[in-house]
């Protein structure tokens, strides 16, 4: 067992599960989407991205790019949330919630791709 692989797999899966947890629920209902979960998803995603730095293989490059996509989407979602909560003055309305959740849905897709690559890579291992 390789400790590096364990940590790597842990963060990728955790990023995807947190993302999924935030995404699930009615798309316009703020009660179904907790902002702390979004925060956790962003942090774990960032850590997963840094873990993918410096891998020279082709699969490593794809890993990094999917992770960057997820980061981008999640940070965009956080920005929209901040805009709704503080700048509009109306608070977290169903419209804002819809935007935040759909952006995180995009990130979820990127995270799923990341997971698929991880699984494919594992299956390709001969041992």
């Amino acid at each position: 067992m390789n400790l590096e692989k364990v940590i790597f797999g842990f963060f990728i899966v955790l990023a995807a599960t947190l993302n999924f947890g935030f995404f699930i629920g009615d798309i316009d209902n703020p009660i179904h989407h907790d902002v702390y979960e979004l925060f956790a998803a962003i942090v774990v995603n960032l850590i997963a991205t840094v873990l993918k730095f410096g891998d020279r293989t082709h699969i490593g490059a794809i890993h990094l790019s999917t992770s960057l996509v997820a980061d981008l989407q999640l940070i965009a979602a956080a920005l929209v949330w901040g805009y709704g909560a503080h700048i509009t003055g109306a608070g977290i309305t169903p419209e804002i919630t819809t935007k935040v959740v759909s952006l995180s849905g995009g990130a979820l897709f990127a995270n799923v791709v990341s997971m698929v690559i991880l699984i494919a890579e594992t299956i390709m291992q001969k041992r």
Binding site: Y36, V50, F53, G54, W81
Partner: protein, 577 residues
């Protein structure tokens, strides 16, 4: 180290930044999360919690030590406790990350990798033809300076780091990308543009025969269409290179041996050759011709052997002075001893000799030999071997007839091959035509252009090098005469300060010394010699239609549509001429 491993250094560097970056992310995350969870008070004193936006804002300016204060409201005691912890955490985080980054930037491997990348980028961005020069020793420096003066780009690979840094001090007018690396490695050669589409040739000038051999074979296998010039000192290596088809193998000693033989039996041809192939920016000094008669040679090494065989070919009797005993099979006249002392020289018959060659590999020894010899016989013709450029001042002070500087011979030969490929067949013709022919030509040329190094260049009449002339050749049926073309574009009454030496037609027929009534055709290649300005003037004539019209017909064509129309009206008017 090869480029592969340099590249992996970058990835290694990224990997080494993983831990500091993750530490920073975690510290930020914990601090922000804590701030949003710990109860605080709003403006009215009611309990409330900080929002993520405010927490992120606060941590961002606190962690970077900007410190705007407690925003948006004054903090509760619990928040202050937490913030105190955050401040120390973030300072540790930043100190760790920046320290790691600086350590990485200081790392020698990493810096090499950056240098290599920069060099590689400079090579890839080359957009004009260039030569790859391997070895920036004396020869390489001479050659690079000459190439730079001729406006030809070069890229340098040199093993010694200190020589590479010297390159910046030499003040070339064009930028010469240089890399401190071992040129005998194919990966390095490739990185330096061996397979680049603008690479015109590779010049291997390192002082190591085996490295030059490695370069030659790499070029042969990876880019066989390129011109390769190789410096070689051992005959076996030269034979090895020739076996896989290296065309230009330059052995400075062998080259000089041939020059000396030529100078002995055809002095004028030798002078002509020297004048035509001199390094730009130097003055060729006509020296007296080597006399025939008894010669003495001191130091029977690599150079000595070549010279002895060259002199023997010319049937000149030689006495050799050397420390080592002669071979059993050797029947030459041989004196064992030290050439720098008078006894050995006298024994070798220096007083009756006409010439002396000092060919040991020690400069001081060589000088001491010739100074003693001149004292014994003042009329001696002296051939002196100079090994190091550093001793230039000493060699300048002693006025020898020939000073053999290998680096200059190689640089000259390289330049002749690279810049004017037509020169080699012409020089061969010089040797064939005989002495009186060469002597007449030399007199004509030097009385017209002087003994300064002339500009020798070749022109091909095609759409790329002579678009205006090609256009005219297509339209007119009248033969284009060489004499009409070689006129000054500023005043056509004057001839251009240059002379055509050699003409090669498209069907490979050649004309030696084409005269003014020789007609020119498309596809002709001309070898010209003359002053530097003449080259620019001729280029203008060949490229610009208006200039060409003036040079050929004496008419100024007005530029632009309006002036053309006016000129036409003016020409139609009956009273105007």
């Amino acid at each position: 180290m090869n480029p592969e491993s340099y590249e992996s250094t970058f990835f290694l560097a990224l990997r080494r930044m993983r831990a500091p970056l993750i530490t920073l992310i975690v510290i930020y995350a914990v601090s922000i999360l804590g701030l949003t969870l710990i109860p605080g008070l709003d403006a009215e004193g009611n309990p409330s919690r900080m929002s993520f936006l405010h927490a992120f804002y606060f941590i961002s300016y606190t962690a970077t030590t900007i410190g705007f204060g407690e925003i948006p409201n004054a903090f509760s005691e619990a928040q202050r406790m937490w913030v105190t912890l955050c401040i120390y955490l973030s300072v540790i985080g930043w100190a760790y990350s920046i320290g790691a980054l600086l350590a990485l930037l200081q790392d020698q491997n990493f810096r090499n990798a950056v240098r290599l990348q920069r060099f590689g980028r400079a090579v890839r961005n080359m957009r004009e033809p260039f030569y790859l020069v391997c070895g920036y020793g004396e020869t390489g420096q001479l050659l690079c300076r000459a190439l730079d003066q001729l406006g030809v780009r070069a890229i340098v690979i040199e093993v010694s780091e200190s020589r590479v840094s010297q390159l910046d001090l030499h003040g070339h007018s064009a930028d010469i990308p240089a890399l401190a690396a071992d040129a005998s490695q194919p990966e390095i050669l490739k990185l330096a543009g061996l397979t680049h589409r603008y690479c015109r040739g590779v010049i291997a000038l390192t002082n190591d025969d085996s490295a030059n051999l490695a370069i030659a074979i790499a070029v042969r296998l990876l880019a066989s269409q390129l011109t390769t010039l190789c410096r070689v000192e051992a005959l076996e290596t030269a034979a090895n290179m020739a076996s896989f088809g290296t065309r230009h193998i330059i052995n400075p000693f062998d080259k000089f041996g041939r020059y000396l033989a030529l100078a002995l039996h055809a002095p004028a041809a030798y002078h002509l050759l020297e004048w035509l192939t001199a390094v730009p920016g130097t003055k060729v000094e006509p020296h007296r011709d080597p006399p025939r008669g008894h010669w003495v040679l001191c130091g029977y090494g690599r150079f000595g052997k070549v010279l002895v065989s060259a002199l023997e070919q010319e049937n000149v009797p030689i006495t050799i002075i050397d420390h080592d005993p002669p071979l059993e099979s050797d029947h030459r006249h041989w004196v064992r001893g030290d050439g720098s002392g008078a006894p050995a020289l006298l024994e070798a018959g220096i007083q009756q000799a006409v010439g002396i060659v000092a060919s040991t590999n020690d400069d001081v020894n060589n000088l001491s030999i010739v100074v003693t010899a001149r004292k014994l016989n003042a009329r001696l013709f002296v051939v002196l071997r100079q090994n190091l450029q550093a001793h230039q001042a000493l060699f300048d002070a002693f006025e020898s007839d020939f000073t053999v500087v290998p680096s200059q011979i190689i640089a000259r030969e390289c330049l002749a091959i690279l810049t004017t490929p037509l020169l080699a067949p012409f020089l061969w013709q010089i040797k064939q035509r005989g002495e009186s022919w060469a002597s007449t030509l030399l007199d004509q040329l030097t009385s017209r252009f002087g003994w300064e190094t002339p500009t020798v260049w070749s022109v091909r009449i095609d759409a790329a090098q002579a678009p205006a002339l090609m256009e005219r050749l297509k339209l007119s049926r009248i033969p284009m005469l060489l004499g009409d073309l070689l006129r000054n574009p500023h005043d056509r009454a004057q001839e251009l300060d240059c002379r055509a030496l050699y003409l090669v037609r498209e069907d490979d027929t050649t004309v030696m010394l084409p005269h003014r009534h020789t007609s020119l055709q498309a596809g002709d290649q001309l070898l010209l010699v003359g002053r530097r300005e003449a080259r620019g003037d001729l280029e203008l004539t060949l490229n610009n239609e208006n200039t060409l019209e003036y040079v050929l017909r004496g008419r100024e064509i007005p530029g632009g549509w309006v002036w053309e129309q006016l000129a036409r009206i003016h020409a139609r008017r009956p009273d105007s001429r």
